[in-house]
Amino acid sequence: MTRVFVSRDMASVALGADDVARAFGDAGCEVVRTGSRGLFSIEPLVEVETDLGRIGFGPVGPGDVAAVLDGAHAARLGKVEDLPFFVGQRRFTFARCGVIDPLSLADYAAHGGWQGLGTARAQAVQQVVDTVKASGLRGRGGAGFPTGIKWQTVLDAPADEKFIVCNADEGDSGTFADRMLMEGDPFCLIEGMAIAAHAVGARHGYIYIRSEYPFAIATMRAAIAASAHIVAPFTLEVREGAGAYVCGEETALLDSIEGKRGQVRAKPPLPALQGLFGRPTVINNVLSLAAVPFILAQGADAYAAVGFGRSRGTMPVQLAGNVRHGGLYEVGFGITLGELVNDIGGGTSSGRPVRAVQVGGPLGAYFPPSMFHLPFDYEAFAAAGGLIGHAGITVFDDSVDMAHMARFAMEFCAAESCGKCTPCRIGSTRGVEIMDRIIGARDTSHPEDKGKVSTGSARTGEGYLDRALYSRAPNRIDVSIEAQTSLLRDLADTMKYGSLCALGGFTPYPVLSALDYFPEDFGASAPIKEAAE
């Protein structure tokens, strides 16, 4: 019987992988459902086991079964790992993703699984923490805080109970690495959490997954049940989010697990000292925890040998939006933005020129192609007025209206603000109003654009937000573009330095970067770059 491999990843299923898998099953093949390899332009992908190895065909449909099985299909790709998209990658964290059956303990063990946990359990707890410190691993959720230091704080905190919490509330548009890992190699995350539990002395862990990821929730629950005997006495449970973006902020996430509104807590106290239920808590991103088994199994030096400056190891970069070869590309830090977008991503999928890329999700800066020399590195991006965030890169072609994207950033912040601090709660709503005035003034000076409806908004006329936005009399306000632009900068400054967390504090990044790099979209007469600060 011929063995074929078809992904069960949510993205593959959205492209029709279930129908493909069913067709091969009907044709008498043994179908193994894997995670995704991570290149979506070849999905739905089927790999056929042959004497030459696993030969990929993609994209294919249910009608292609016969042609694929006799090897003559035009979409024959050869070995998937030999494709240009894959040869340049350093797959430390995603080594098994797309290769194994995600819920097969035998597959996981055969591909190096549980070695890290075995190594950790044979060591003193301080030695485990020291190894993570030596690897240089920094928080992959976006803040880049050294993971080993966080673990040390929890290890040193005296308490009768400690917790491990995995932040899988991956709400940033343009990011999907957490989802792919949970769906494609869930035991890797469980192993990382079990190592963390051993290192700091925790008995119970939570994985907080957003409700928009139903496949990841189901896979993680099944994987926890299947591996309970291996990680025991450590126990784990999945908590499902409920559509609040702000719960990706760690303290809001903790409140949400406790059954409260997902509101941000003031820091200090740090979660490492007073976290979940007031107990010392390790709270790490999926990718941080999933990097740990490799570090323990292969050694800190093997991980730290790759990287750039103070950013050590690999980053699973996600190429998204209007990009020809979108997907997951795990590579050492230091690769440039231009290499990622143009060489690996292949430019836009629309075939038009790249105008802007947003790095790091809704709170990340927009960069023009003139910034493509930037190396992928926490410090380099911070110096350029941006952030790596969760390493999602969203590509836009030249049809994008950057003023609308700036308005959308403010609108998103207004919709998702937890409401605890004023700069975020009120500032974002004022920001939408300012952007409406700028866009209105700009379109009035170009009569042919008049009446163009903002692409980023749905004017349903319902809800408190829409009412609040238009409650002020416009004839009392100086609506000239110059006045509104300086008001916008002033507001961004207040939000950046006055907000309690990154939602309000980082929303100015997309807004100001759009204004600085694309002033012509904001009605400026010539594209002159203004001072950033």
């Binding site: 299923v13 979506f40 997902g262 959308f408 998103f412």
Partner: protein
């Protein structure tokens, strides 16, 4: 619903941190969280009614009125916008006869916004009654419209 709440808490516990899982279970069972059920939830978990109301209204997922028979959740986030989601949203609202964020008067279909499904390289994306659909164009939209008309 009191019976359901009693059975659920007997099985899963009645501590405060069970509130979100309980609300998810109730919505799974009944389609929404009716305001009339809030006192029973509060009593079961030893919380104030205001506390429960605050949580129900904070999270976008929890509905206080029954949804349409079919729910189309269309992604509005940046990566889908970069692939033409705004035009698809407009076309979907016209074809389905319902504004974004609303349920059609006959209760047949609701069009809801969602901010990222994590399928960001293959947008515009949607969840049609929980089933993921990618690369939505005019033809895909027509298939969705026929599906939710049934």
């Amino acid at each position: 619903m009191e019976e359901f709440i009693g059975a659920w808490t007997a099985r899963h516990g009645a501590t405060r941190d069970r509130l979100l899982p309980l609300l998810h279970a109730m919505q799974e069972e009944a389609g929404h969280i009716d305001d009339a059920w809030v006192p029973a939830i509060a009593k079961a978990l030893n919380l104030s009614r205001a506390d429960v109301h605050g949580v129900v209204t904070f999270y976008h997922d929890f509905r206080r009125v029954a949804p349409g028979r079919h729910v189309v959740k269309l992604c509005r986030a940046e990566s889908c916008q970069a692939r033409g989601a705004a035009a698809i949203e407009k076309a979907a609202a016209e074809r389905l006869g319902v504004a974004m964020g609303a349920t059609r008067a006959d209760g047949q279909v609701a069009l809801e916004p969602v901010y990222c499904l994590g399928l960001c390289a293959i947008g515009p994306n949607a969840l049609v009654d929980g089933r993921p659909v990618a690369r939505i164009d005019a033809a895909a939209l027509e298939r969705i419209a026929l599906e939710v008309a049934a």
